[in-house]
Subunit: 251 residues, 6 copies
């Protein structure tokens, strides 16, 4: 069985995976504006792709399956731009809770929510903690670009950014690698991004619309993106996620 | 602009669609066992495909866009089989409410939730009614196989069923037309389905696990499915949905 | 013990009925405008009366009791008219859940919610399903006019309608049979009703105030109502419900 | 218009009452064990009757209407006995909130919830306060036997009790006055009641099942009940309620 | 171990108290306007002080600990004045439920919520009842000034009031005894209070802002307050609470 | 007016502060085990003290007030040890929301939640974001030890830790500075702490009881704590917080 996508499998195959205590990767993304040059699916696309690539690396040593993508997250701060959808916290929690509960009831015990959207990070920590305790099963949350190894490898690959920023060099590169036909290269070349963080002075945080930070909806430098970098970035994240999943202490 | 998928569009394109008062089709499906021969994504796959085909028919006369698929619905009655995920009612309502609210806040006013899963029907009526009233926008719910014209056209195409049943002749045919490589033809040819309805004697309804009705998880006759019928069925539903969307009285 | 009304019984009698595994019928209605000629209690009155008549038919073969009537349901679509009260979905669910939970805790295991209001139908399916599963007891929902046998018998009795419509021939006849002094015959004779369904073209549903459909609040033809038809209709529904309750496969 | 019951009125009559700013009395009771001799509807019956009698006294000076009875309240402490139904707090609040909201949306502004059940008292204070503030309308809660005048008049009428107790002298007398055929006089004559309060030593309160206090489910002395006392008690409460409603400062 | 404050104890000491089945007193107050002369912490201060004094009386016979003070309660009716904070009912219930649940999970079984704020009384009855039943542990609620003995002793000590009123003789005296530096004696001497109850004519209750009753925010006669009376009042309440806790029938 | 504590102020003083648009600092802590040597109030104590010291630095340039401390937070991971209380997420959110709403309704517009407990961090980000947006007022969340300047100054002061850890060198030092009589120096000298982080390998997070990490409940090196370091640490945090509050861009 070489298929890793839950959606493509049949019920008896998934029952068999449960019996073998397969790892379930749940990609968690967003559907939100990514500047004038990238499609709104970016965060969901990248989280899914990294799960698939990690699953392919892992499956020879551990059974693994990639659940359908939770394509809507917490994107209130992007609502001032077009094309954005957002859940509220309670619904986001409800969705993740119902999915994990379904998995545990079907016999799966090893779950990792792989996140691709900055706005989901704090909420996922709260939610994964509560769900894991309630279901008495290890439910991990991780954001691909904050995995320690990824962070380092990304820094080495990127030219004008130190990390992943919204619709900037890293994300634009990865979309170029995966869905180049959906990138508007003209606007990618000319869009100026801001270079701020969402967090305020000295670590005090408050809600802030992304529109307060940037007119273009971009944070970072999309103009220097290339498909080649994108491939490297995706593989680096997948590699790091695979190592995490196979690590001694995780489960 | 010939792209109809929300996820593939960029923010400015979606803002433009909102300004043009585009129709938004939201495919609503499920992720649940569909017998030993079909992948678990069937209901989501079909709802999405029918939306896309209908959007292509409609877009010359009306701007239209297909939102990402709500791929998890109410499938508690399938939880005794493998591969099933389910939301609870409150979460399902929350998801649809947040999506519609995001759409209305972005400026869209014409929304239709196109459903492909029997277990969602009653809940969608409740939810679409409540959301539409709350948002003061017409939010329609429809299940493709219950659209009046579809029902009649399906009856004419099918050989051993009068309508769509779970993993039977109709659904198996449509999946053969779309994703033949995911169908296990061996088990499709030999699986016996039940021929019951979920509703009890004389219209009294209670919760009943699908496993009470059938050991195989199938309702209907998958063995007679063909890709040709599948194409006809998909087009019939898309045609009917397109006519509904363009009908005089809808919006 | 010939009394069938829960409210009229004493605690030890109800404990005895629980020990005998009595069927509990819960009438579920509404309190809403029914045109200028009928009192607002119609749906609650009729659901209750049909339960009582069915219980009298059943009680020689099965112990049975009729709970107090849930007289308020989902009537938002009638709020533009006078005299209407409505619950929201969550409260309606809460009421039915608490009642069924009380019954199950007292030892009752066979429950049927007998509905008399169109606006409750979808919600009752959702609710009865969820409650039954949660309480691990069969909790049925049925709407009297949709019971298969009732539908046919009603068609034969009615002159100008094919089925029950809001404040039309059928409902007016039944109220004439039960509470003639509360019917305003003058306005009954002259009120014109619409002849539409709440469901839109081709099965797409959205919320619609009843006032969009009719100025009078009436759907159907009240002018041809008679007490004689009313008696026949009530007995037909009671007969059909009794047969359902005594059917082989129900519990 | 001499009819005071909401349920018996027609929509235009209720619209007219709203226009005239009629007082709405909402009887709030319970459905719970009342010893071996009284039917389980006692608290609902009495609250309703007192509202009707008060309305008849009031209607010459003020328009007034009696809503259908909220027949289920908070009776968890009676669940150890047969025949009891209970709501949880949130559902009870939901029901009262939806009713009051419906009334206010229909144009009514003067609402009094008239309670007949001890277990509802604290909750009603919380709920009426919150609803009244939310709806920006005066929503009063009152328990008939705690109205100052009633308390005094009751004391004078009763022989062996100082106030209303559960299924004792006062309640048994009132049921004898209204529904004598539902009273089991044999057990009424012989049932020993406890004489305790639900509140513990020195005003510290905790949840306590009624079964901790009494085996018979009775608090007080039913044996001395008579229909004559019952009539006096009902009239005293109705008189007091009418005076309250007509008082200068209430609305 | 002579320390009675939970907050001042170390984890092993609290574990030991749980093992010894210690009584836990939870002071419940408010943070709200108390006229121009008293600090806003009055109700929390007094509930806490009375718990501490009672604990010191009790601890030789029973192990006892005073939890941190729930310093925010239901004070919506004081929001028209400055300095007031309020919870809504659901949050207030949530806080008390989480605290009691934490206590029970740590092994404590004897809990009393000692209230110092009139606006909390009804809610606490509802909440303590529900929590106690849910946790299957005796959870008592009591308001210090309504404890039977306190009421009598207070009457004897006070000159111009019969009981505790908002920011009047009793409360002002007790604050003078505890935190005299926070009392504005000038305004205390000259502020006129109202002498009304929050409850309306004849026991009918509705929400009423405190500003409807008094411009000064004071109910009672602060001018006659003295620290000496305050000491007597505090000791009387503590004495009564201690007797209640040691009473035969409480736990 | 030199008093900075809300609880100690009178209503008119707080109204005046609202009129002057004072900053409100809300200390948010926890009540949980802190090893065998520290009292359970540590996180609440330190958050409060740092607010007070910062307020004293700020008040000459900006009006400022310190709200009562939210002394209970999210401490589920400490429940396996004695003396711990915890809220669930929804209640924690409710408390902070009600407090901020009260503040905004009273006229305050500048709010900072100053947190002293690691287990609250993610939740506070979610909550402050949602509250700020709902109330349309800047509501900041900050954790004292993560303020950029604090982090650096702490590193310089501490000998055997790089940052604040649970009941280790930093926290023990600060409690020694404030409440030395509550520290058990014997156990402080001999307790071995773990040196792990709550976050798992490579940034994947799941719920983990603190008892999985350490038998003693301590993370860090309490033995090297001194009151002198404690003073320096408290002042460093207060200084940094004051600078943040007075920073150009905050409000």
């Amino acid at each position: 069985m070489t298929e890793v996508l839950w959606a493509n499998l049949r019920a008896p195959e998934l029952s068999e995976l449960a019996r073998r205590n397969a790892i379930v990767l749940v990609p968690v993304g967003s559907m939100e504006q990514h500047g004038p040059h990238l499609p709104v699916q970016v965060d969901s696309l990248l989280a899914t792709e990294i799960c698939i690539r990690a699953a392919r690396r892992v499956r020879e040593r551990e059974p693994v399956v990639v659940a359908p993508t939770v394509w809507c997250g917490l994107a209130e701060h992007h609502m001032d731009f077009g094309g954005t959808m957002t859940l509220d916290f309670d619904t986001f929690r409800g969705v993740l809770r119902c999915i994990c509960q379904s998995l545990v009831r079907q016999g799966f015990r090893r779950i990792l929510l792989l996140n691709g959207h900055g706005g989901n990070v704090s909420a996922l920590n709260v939610i994964a903690g509560d769900i894991g305790r309630e279901l008495e099963a290890p439910v991990f949350a991780a954001t691909y670009c904050y995995l320690a190894g990824t962070a380092q490898r990304y820094k080495d690959i990127l030219e004008q950014q130190e990390n992943v920023r919204h619709a900037g060099e890293a994300e634009s590169s990865m979309v170029l690698a995966l869905l180049p036909e959906l990138v508007d290269r003209e606007s990618m070349a000319h869009t100026q991004g801001t270079m701020t963080n969402m967090v305020g002075p000295s670590g005090a945080y408050r809600f802030r619309s992304f529109a307060e930070l940037t007119e273009t909806g971009v944070n970072g430098v999309p103009a220097v993106a290339t498909a080649e970098k994108g491939e490297l970035l995706l593989d680096a994240a997948a590699e790091e996620l695979a190592e995490t999943l196979l690590g001694d202490e995780l489960w």
